[in-house]
Symmetry: D2
Subunit: 454 residues, 4 copies
């Protein structure tokens, strides 16, 4: 029926205006009112770092709505300062482990009573979201600026407490690296980074039985973790519950304790972002001073974790007492927070852009896969073991722009946009074929696109 009536011609991708419209349409479609579900079916609740990235995407659409997203998340902050990795949407079922499994309200003294949350945390990217709220508010009228300013006034304390908790509870010895007690706390749930540490997690015979809900919505189980992995995940939850999610007890109880160098780099960066906001908006000097100090401490911790040979950063397994050598996207943590010498940083950039990562000749788009395509444990379709996560591309492009590398930032943005221009906002993508995988309406992917196209 005329030109274009065949798939070949039709599939030329969307224009920038179409793409941003579709991303906004998706984001509002995932809106539950005061929170945005990470993805409508697979992830019907609010995840901590998803919420932060979603806020980045909401800010250009509605500063007011973006503020609500952060408010919802911060309202669920624990009294010890922890932002939990999940805030459960009222009346939404279908995710496991859900509130009944975590039992935080009854077990954890620090957990809020008015809302259900999980008992672990996720990477601290929230300062970025706050900055984007403020950035956008400055382009709007007086009323909107006031909404943003009041938000900052209202939540500054929450944000500082959150960072303080990470610095204190998760790095009690001041080594400059955030300890995580569950792979999920890294955000990269089944990354090869955690394989060796998980190997030491032996699920007790008294692990309560469970049914996995994640498989109900995913047709290809090979993209998701195995059952044994899942047992280990839940065993760690079980250990936490038995310790009543008590910060003081966890280090002595958990089978899994790893210093996560990627979370640490994000934290160093976020402390700087928050400190600058504090300066811009005349927050207490003592807070700013603490934030700068944490930033320095964790930057040093990241640098100290780098390999002399490859310059990539490594996680440290506290249980095994050794560095973890994998070749994942997390190795480029120092590019986010800085701190390497000029020469080493250049070498690391070359590695990032070289044939073991973004420059691998078979990649469809020059964006960083979650695992090196030449790693032995690389799996192109398996969650954090190989696929490309657009939100990670966004994070690097955002960080690179702030590191003073506009061309690198622009190139990641261009390639990231090329990856989604056929219209899906998938959770992750097969790196060689470009096939969209996981959820097809992932909020943070749409949010990344909205920020890129802003």
């Amino acid at each position: 029926m005329g030109v274009g009536d065949n798939d070949a011609v039709a599939n030329q991708g969307f224009t920038p205006t179409q793409l941003s419209a579709r991303a906004a349409y998706l984001l509002r479609g995932n809106d539950l009112g005061t929170m945005t579900s990470a993805a409508p079916k697979l992830y019907p609740h609010m995840w901590s770092w998803d919420a932060a990235f979603v806020t980045v995407g909401l800010a250009p659409l509605s500063v007011e709505r973006a503020v609500i997203e952060m408010d919802t998340l911060l309202s669920a902050q624990w009294s010890n300062g922890m932002i939990p990795h999940i805030v459960f949407a009222n009346g939404r079922d279908g995710y496991f482990p859900g509130p009944a499994r975590w039992e935080c309200r009854s077990l954890a003294a620090a957990a809020p009573q008015h809302v259900d949350t999980s008992g672990i945390t996720q990477p601290p990217v929230h300062a970025i979201a706050v900055q984007r709220i403020l950035d956008h508010s400055r382009r709007r009228g007086r009323t909107t600026r006031q909404v943003a300013n009041e938000f900052l006034d209202r939540r500054w304390g929450n944000l500082v407490r959150w960072h303080r908790w990470l610095a204190d509870a998760r790095d009690p010895q001041g080594r400059g690296r955030v300890t995580i007690f569950h792979g999920w706390e890294s955000g990269m749930d089944n990354s090869p980074r955690w394989d060796s540490a998980y190997a030491n997690v032996v699920p007790g015979s008294d692990l309560p039985p469970y049914h996995r809900a994640d498989l109900d919505h995913v047709s290809d189980a090979s993209m998701r973790p195995s059952d044994l992995e899942y047992d280990r995940y839940l065993w760690l939850v079980e250990q936490m519950k038995r310790a009543h999610y008590d910060d003081a007890l966890l280090p002595g109880v958990l089978d899994f304790a790893v210093e996560d160098v990627f979370v640490s780099a994000i934290f160093a960066m976020a402390c700087d972002v928050l400190a600058t906001i504090g300066e811009d908006y005349s927050k207490p000097r003592a807070d700013v001073r603490d934030l700068r100090a944490w930033s320095d401490r964790f930057r040093s911790g990241v640098v100290a974790a780098t390999s002399e040979r490859t310059n990539t950063a490594r996680d440290f397994d506290l249980r095994a007492g050794r560095w973890i050598n994998t070749e994942t996207i997390a190795g480029f943590a120092p590019l986010l927070c800085g701190g390497l010498s000029r020469e080493r940083e250049r070498a690391l950039l070359r590695a990032f852009e070289g044939p073991r990562f973004c420059g691998h000749p078979d990649l469809r788009y020059a964006v960083p896969p979650s695992n090196s395509p030449i790693a032995a444990n690389f799996k192109p379709r398996e969650y954090w073991r190989g696929p490309v996560w657009p939100v990670m591309t966004w994070l690097f492009s955002w960080a690179f722009a702030r590191r003073g590398w506009p061309e690198r930032a622009a190139r990641l943005r261009e390639e990231g946009l090329r990856q989604v221009r056929e219209g899906s906002f998938a959770e992750y993508y097969e790196p060689f074929t470009g096939e969209p995988l996981g959820s097809m309406q992932q909020s943070w992917t749409a949010a990344s696109v909205l920020d890129w196209l802003d």
Copy 2:
């Protein structure tokens, strides 16, 4: 706090990608599931021509969702063929007159039983929406094309019946003009076009009492119709109810009966659009033939209604038996459907673009106001008595493109986009100052923007 922290610098308007994102965000925000409310507070239900324009905006976002919008509307079609002007959303209150006032289910034999509707109709722009669904589907993959094709197969009969009802029930004498029995049927509720005809509507003393809900959400009552006007509106409804909404009875009963030249022009155009679709998709030749015949008949009817002096088209008051001389946007009806001689058409274009309309020197944007700025009854803030309606700008730009006037279409598009680039998607705008008026989140305004930016 840095460059831009003042309203002057901040208010430079949004970029195209930002604008399309915000329009899509709005449209999804007004989504009630299977219908899109015309505006979230003021108009919480589905209006017939709003739904068609909304569909135009949904099509680039999701052909599937656009199809649902039309399906919802067409599911409420009356058995006589009429598409009612309102389909009430279940459980949404706050609009008057609501189902309890119309009482169509109980009074009208042709009204559907499964859904509440009003008992009058609105301009037949639906063929445009169907065309946009098909246009967009051809740019998508096979699955989406199939959704669109099946929609057309499923609804072709509804569409032809709708057009046949207009041709038969509303122009029984074949004069080539659609008769409306209520100003609301024109879509331009309080236009000066209806003043004289309404003057002959004398509300009976037995008009049941009522409370106007429209004023609950509008702070400035001067933008809305007066109480006396409202009494007349409701008296006509009362007359229809007493005639059981019977097509055969209405012409003999109603105090108000006007041949609407703008609706007639839209109908002529829509018949052509639908006929071409019919040809493209191999629909019954008899249907196509009927559509072309109606198109010709109503085009002639519009031309016959034009003033020899001004070349503008006039409505005809059947009760008073005379042409109505006003100077509103509706006068340009022949530009939509064609039919004038070359010379007269050129003169009418000059009038459209000249100082009495788009070219008035005080207009903020060169778009057609609903009433001529130099008309005695011009009111710059009063609904259809002066303000600019972006959806009308869109309609003319769309029609002009099809008339073979790409530069004129582009110019209207550019000016229309300039008008909304400060971020509101208002129902209508003050023509001189550009102040947004009425609902600030009007679905069809967002839809117009989405189509323009596609």
Copy 3:
């Protein structure tokens, strides 16, 4: 050396701003001062229809410069009204046949004395150029508008004389089709359309010897006409010279005389464009009336040339007294000027968009090739025997927009832009591979892109 340092990543094409910048850069680079060479090496002079298309591209850059381009061309108009197909740039050598071969100054009574021209003509697309000058001038300030208006006043007579010459000298019997006496007059020099007519051209033994300059700049001779073809080309020139380029004598002398249906359709369209300009700018009514009459006459002539079976238009060989049946882009002439019945036009559009033309499954872009890919004489790399000419795509997109087919126009524009987005502005392109061919810096290709991106 970082992301992008490989051809695969690098070759993603240019953005719209880059593309328009490069097109403008090219156009100015080909600027010889008061004329733009068609291409810097291969075609160092001004061609008549090239100049018109170039003017379309100059208008958005500088209305003033666009006016100069047309002034230069029109200054070389012959006193009989003919616009010659070449205006030779002073002091530029290297093109054959050059002034010394044509000898117009000394042989032709109607030729200008102050400038060298060829002795034949080319398709009358100039009214389009004039319209674009006027369109753009209306968006500029008063001074620029005045430049354009004065240009029109100054050149209106030239333009009408040019059209009158075509109507009179080239259609003396009023058949509604323009007769050409040389394939070059069609602009499609070696099209299969002329094969049979050329077969009857027998170069005399007294054809003066010559050296072909076109081969000096083209590495692949297969893309250019053969030597025998060239002998015929020059023999016709010889015949014209012997008749002193006398309009009255040519019909009786030339071995080649064909009614060109594509030129005729362009002429019908151009007459309408010029007539509308005449009306808009209050030119003499008699001129406008003549232009409309010619438009009608040639539209009818084109329609009369269409095949009942295929609806495509055919050229008529006056020497052989028969219709020429080929399957080239020229067959779609009626789509440019209109005139077919609705049904036949729809069928012709289907053919245009179908598998024998734009919809051929192996085409890289959905744009019309100069010859049907399934024609026996199709040659994908040979000038007008197969390749895609972007300027033809532009002409159809421009005409379709004026025919009232905005979606079709937009689609041709999109595909046309995709074809050039890798950065070359080639004269023509291989239809299947997209390989750029001929001159790589063709002015009219850049001009087409500039108009599309405007």
Copy 4:
């Protein structure tokens, strides 16, 4: 004649594609073959820093042509390493002082013999140009990359010699600041920065007579320097000539000797850029080391020149032995090269964005004027005493992006583009009204726009 036929509607500015096309068109129009004149009439030759900025604009259009621009400039480098501030185009007259006044060929041992140049220098922004050549080449095909790489190989020595000359000849005592011996060497010819230093320049009675050519093309003399100023300018040239332009003699001879803190900051930045290029392209480690050392030295020199109170940087008058206190754009030099403490840098950014500069409430666009609008010596139309220079906006936006401030860079870019979107590419603009001033076709303004729109 239709919508838009009035200045009000017409003047809405150009779209991005139109703007980039016009910029490219201008740049090619100013192309003299192997050099681009700074502006076609007023500045018909090649200026050193103009050439560098022009190269930035040429790079996206043609890496090959951009290379030629730099080659032309570097071919005129003096044997001591100096890049002269003017390279005279052969056969172009009309600029004073011209070669006959400078007499470099005959007087200066280091001057080249094959080309005429001036005898002074200009700010060292050339490394930026080289980087942009390399950036763009990496997005192109193999051939283009090779052109760029060979250029770098061929010219690396020139570039390092140029920087070495600045470090040695112009900062012999290693104070970390570049000494200039003529206000013209700053590029900001008549800036208030030089008023006090010029006051000490007493033109000798033996100053040879002259005729100012700059006034021939400027209608409003108030925008250009006065005659007395001009006498001083030429007296300094006279002094240099009498010293045979000998680097060793100038410090002892010239009445004018100022450490230019803005040039020094540019130099610090350029050394870093060049060093990074050296690392990326494996240039001699010794060169890279030297470049980094110079960068550090001059960064320190700039910081040492900052006022404790205002944090702005000051020039130092070597003749008077004192800091020069003015409030011009040059005070923000530390923002280009960095080096201030976090706290002081933030204060300086606030000043830059505050009401004394970009944030002044009466500015039409939020871009830095050449002089503070609240300075006593501020003149809104007088060259470097007030107007906005788009190329300076570009320089700051470029530097800010590299400093890791993407939002600030984007905002300058947006405002800078708004300033030119009405179509002129003026040399400078009145800050309050936006009136374009000086040359209307300034190459570097077009180049800035091209880079912004890339």
